[in-house]
């Protein structure tokens, strides 16, 4: 099953809508609760990253009986220093993002922690692609 969502940068009211729909779908499919939590926590962090940092983006979720594959592609400033961005506590989030409860510098490390496979590719001034795979069985 494939689900796809368009994400608008800066739209904090809708941030999490895609993650919520993926969560609902996984629940309906009877996926184990601990797996669902890992998927949606990773996805929600990545979705918030698009809203917080990019101009716009797209999320594609491919769900099979064996695994969930998530691909998030955005158009935005990109990440100039990925190693730094992966450091827990490091954040470039704006004051507005922090007021929404994010920007603690835990997003990317938390995605990495929950994913079985995590790939991050970024081109400065162009955009970022995040791929997350989580095994179901």
């Amino acid at each position: 099953m494939d689900l796809s969502f368009n994400i608008q940068g800066g739209d904090f009211t809708s941030a999490g809508t895609a993650s919520s729909q993926v969560r609902r779908t996984l629940k309906e499919l009877g996926v184990d609760a601990s797996v669902i939590k890992r998927v949606v926590v990773a996805l929600y962090e990545a979705e918030v990253n698009i809203v917080a940092h990019a101009y716009k983006g797209e999320i594609v979720a491919q769900i099979s009986p064996e695994r969930v594959f998530l691909k998030l592609t955005d158009e935005g400033p990109g990440i100039p220093d990925i190693e730094k961005a992966m450091t827990p506590g490091y954040s470039t989030a704006s004051q507005e993002v922090r007021e929404m409860g994010f920007g603690a510098g835990m997003g990317l490390p938390n995605i990495c922690k929950n994913a079985d496979v995590f790939n991050l590719h970024s081109v400065p001034n162009k955009g970022t692609t995040v791929e997350i795979t989580i095994q179901i069985s």
Binding site: F12, T13, A15, G16, S19, S20, R23, A33, I36, K37, V40, V41, Y44, E45, V48, M100, G101, F102, G103, A104, G105, M106, G107, N110, K113
Partner: protein, 114 residues
């Protein structure tokens, strides 16, 4: 501790969700930083937060939590209450500060998640 006891201890008010008479929690986590909440692996705790917007409810939803205690006397926006209702999350408001609410609940027997 039952939710009704918690509500009474923090002089709170339930704004959304349905709770059984004996329904309760054993653990709490207090934070205004949602990414920190999302690092907690377990799901059997109540979130105490001062973050009065939809993202605290979204975070509770993704973390598979059922109870959110909003502190510092904040009046949540209607969209936050509506989202909590839709998500089956019990939203409680308290006039106390996060420190005071946490201290009272800890003293009454609720435990920290770590």
């Amino acid at each position: 501790m039952t939710i009704h006891e918690i509500v009474s201890l923090v002089q709170g008010k339930i704004l959304s969700g349905k709770i059984g008479k004996e329904e309760g929690v054993e653990y709490c986590f207090a934070s205004d930083l949602m990414s920190d909440v999302l690092t907690v692996c377990r799901s059997d705790f109540m979130l105490i937060t001062g973050l009065s917007n939809v993202q605290s409810i979204r975070t509770a939803e993704m973390s598979d939590l059922k109870y959110v205690l909003l502190v510092r006397g904040k009046t949540p926006p209607q969209e936050m209450v509506d989202l909590a209702e839709d998500s089956g999350i019990v939203l409680i408001v308290s006039p106390f500060s996060m420190f005071k609410a946490s201290g009272i609940l800890y003293g009454a027997g609720l435990k920290g998640v770590f």
